[in-house]
Subunit: 345 residues, 2 copies
Amino acid sequence: MGSVSFWKKAGLCCIPLIATSAILWAQMPSHVPIPKDNPQTREKIELGKQLFFDPRLSVTGTVSCNSCHNVMSNGTDNRPVSLGAHGKPGDRNAPTVFNAAFRSVQFWDGRAASLEDQAKGPPMNPVEMAMPSEQMIEERIGSIPGYRREFEKVFGGSQPVTFDNIAKAIASFERTLITPGSPYDRYMAGDKAALSPEAQRGLKLFESTGCTACHSGPMFSGPTQPMGTGFYMKFPLFSDNPYVKQYNLAEDLGRYQVTHQEQDQHMFVVPSLRNVEVTAPYFHNGSVKTLDEAVRVMARTQLNKTLDEKDVQDMVAFLDSLTGEFPVITLPRLPETPNTTILER
Amino acid sequence: MGSVSFWKKAGLCCIPLIATSAILWAQMPSHVPIPKDNPQTREKIELGKQLFFDPRLSVTGTVSCNSCHNVMSNGTDNRPVSLGAHGKPGDRNAPTVFNAAFRSVQFWDGRAASLEDQAKGPPMNPVEMAMPSEQMIEERIGSIPGYRREFEKVFGGSQPVTFDNIAKAIASFERTLITPGSPYDRYMAGDKAALSPEAQRGLKLFESTGCTACHSGPMFSGPTQPMGTGFYMKFPLFSDNPYVKQYNLAEDLGRYQVTHQEQDQHMFVVPSLRNVEVTAPYFHNGSVKTLDEAVRVMARTQLNKTLDEKDVQDMVAFLDSLTGEFPVITLPRLPETPNTTILER
């Protein structure tokens, strides 16, 4: 199938017109977008790091942002779906927090327009961190003397420990979680030895097969969108193959669950392929365990193609070249609650 | 009650004879004991740090050593009892990992003679990390290429990824988790301004009340014992008070559960008071939320004394002076499983 019939099927015929080679292939940007109303400061990033690692943002005091988006690993937990504060599984695979700052929308269904919006989701999600109310979050964090002092310093005002400010600080820290320096980026910068011959074949195959129809641009997540505007694709696009049943790919209605508009059924944000080597398992439901199988599934469900095994291996070699360098992070000290605890049985 | 009747009641009449002032009060030692068969090396400590933070040591991939012994906080989780991999609560309060290297035995009932022995407990505990067998732990860790390389480098041999070596590496890392430099240590080193007048009154009161009968020595955990030999005390010693029922202090049979010998009923290792300010809640069952209440309970259940509120506050001021300086730790990078995951649903 050529790219025209793909786009026709996908109902997005205009996209290929702008998907020129310059947009298809690009290095990782050197700077993340920063919203005007949440400028980065050293103190805010440090506060955000504390909050990101603080399990007291969950009702049980056992689940932090880092539990499911583990920055010691790949910004995810490598589980199909995460387990929340009460040990219950979530619905969708935890996306990596690394390079999330470059995403124009957050969550698989794009329901958060910014990292700030996203950060407010898990604490209030009854399966994830399961806090009963925004007020309880503010009260709990505000009851910790060290946090109160830091929020005052970072945000000022008489009541700085707000859910909004908690989210702003976490988002600021997350904007430091980027992974430049991948072999692919070095290759694009002129170091032709950075990619193995297999990876170079995989790169060409990635374009000729049609993967770049969606996975283009510096993040391999489609044409760069204005912040808050997602780039979505139907998944699975072709359902007449055994993978759909085998991996339960058609159960989740995707963005429809947010908009309740028919055209959003099975629409998902196109995920970045940066670090895809180390973020197994794959897809919105985490149902596919290995990257080679994910490549086979994608070729068949999105492009109606069946790749031979050599092509799959070359494609994986190319995708492995998108793994960047992870930042060195010093552990935060979490502020204390002297002589008492705020966590009940 | 004077100290003689206390020791008579406790059945340990010989102890006061050696509990001279020199033993009662001491600074934190500058070096931790290192077992001959597990010398510290930089690479082993680094490997141990990775393992300490790696949730893949639990069956679900969600609970690491750090989950319950959080070194970003106080080496504990500040919960009454911890929640394990399947969300189930444990039986006893998680002791802090900070300064555990100085403890002559590990666990509340002293059932592990070393940090190495202790490290093998939680992974196999069905409520904690819930791994089904030592073999599965070895296979899982051994299936991660980065770990395999590091174990080869650190331990050598053809099959270096053993449960024993996992425990040795973790113990080596834990021996770096010490907190010197407390106000008390500075005071003992001659800086008389390091303790407030309240804390100095508390210090005197701590001895005159009889607390030093057990909480003596550099770690405030009793006379220094040879490694593997615990210093135990009956708790509660005096049961004719409302605290015992209120905080359910007499339910747990303590060391008896390990030895099944009658004299070990309700015997527990005397815990260190280092960092007690920040390790709430208190006691083997984590039933007491605040340090002031813990002081009241201890005076009554162990020394049959009722302190007035001023004394309680002074004692707390002294105990707060035992909080040391926590080490700055760089986050480890956890070795990857490229293009796949080892965690199933």
